[in-house]
Symmetry: C2
Subunit: 127 residues, 2 copies
């Protein structure tokens, strides 16, 4: 049975019906929060679609891990550590983070950053 | 090595650097085109992120298949057949289409419909 999670947020506060808020408090994280849009609760076993919001001045955790990420920026601008390089990205840009590649995502400027992050299924649904 | 596909399109003609255009001409398809944003060319083996655009009056193919879909609407409004129900969706709405669930996606109104479609890896990268 398919499901729909309707956007019910506002321009500065994205949210979706049935999205599952998850704590995101790894070491080095500042001002970041995550929501699962499509995941195990929907019966999805092949991928998880999450939304992350990072407040101005905040950051995702600096990390690397065996699972990869597919990122699509929804709002704001980002500085992204991608292995040994650093890239800037804005709305609609798509970024692939390879398995075991060091990465960290930070907003640029005074606007919050929001992005979709796709991962293969994993126990925590966050990471 | 991670990759970035920068959005380089326009409001009525979405495109990304390095996106791979793919024919999308299954029986029943009208006015639809697909692009791979993140896929095998990036080294991604766990998921594929595609963008589809369907022109007003057009439609994706009516189909069902063993792989599931994660959909996030980017622009326009959609009427989506989802198994035995029909839902309407708009920008930012997230839809999960289960394995083997009948589905078909059509734009509502005079605007083209554009959406991200995530699938597990498969030979064709389209479907």
């Amino acid at each position: 049975m398919g499901t729909i999670h309707r956007f019910n947020g506002e321009e500065d506060n994205f949210n979706w019906e049935g999205a599952i808020p998850r704590d995101y408090c790894k070491p080095g994280t500042r001002g970041a929060e995550g929501k699962i849009l499509i995941g195990k609760a929907d019966g999805a076993t092949n991928f998880i679609v999450r939304y992350f919001r990072v407040a101005p001045g905040g950051s995702s955790a600096p990390e690397s891990h065996p699972h990869d990420h597919g990122i699509v920026i929804l709002h704001g601008r980002a500085r992204i550590l991608l292995g040994e390089k650093e890239v800037e990205a804005g709305p609609r840009d798509a970024i692939y983070i390879s398995p075991n590649e060091a990465h960290q995502i930070q907003p640029i400027g005074d606007e919050p950053l929001g992005f979709l992050c796709i991962v293969p299924p994993k126990d925590s649904e966050i990471g």
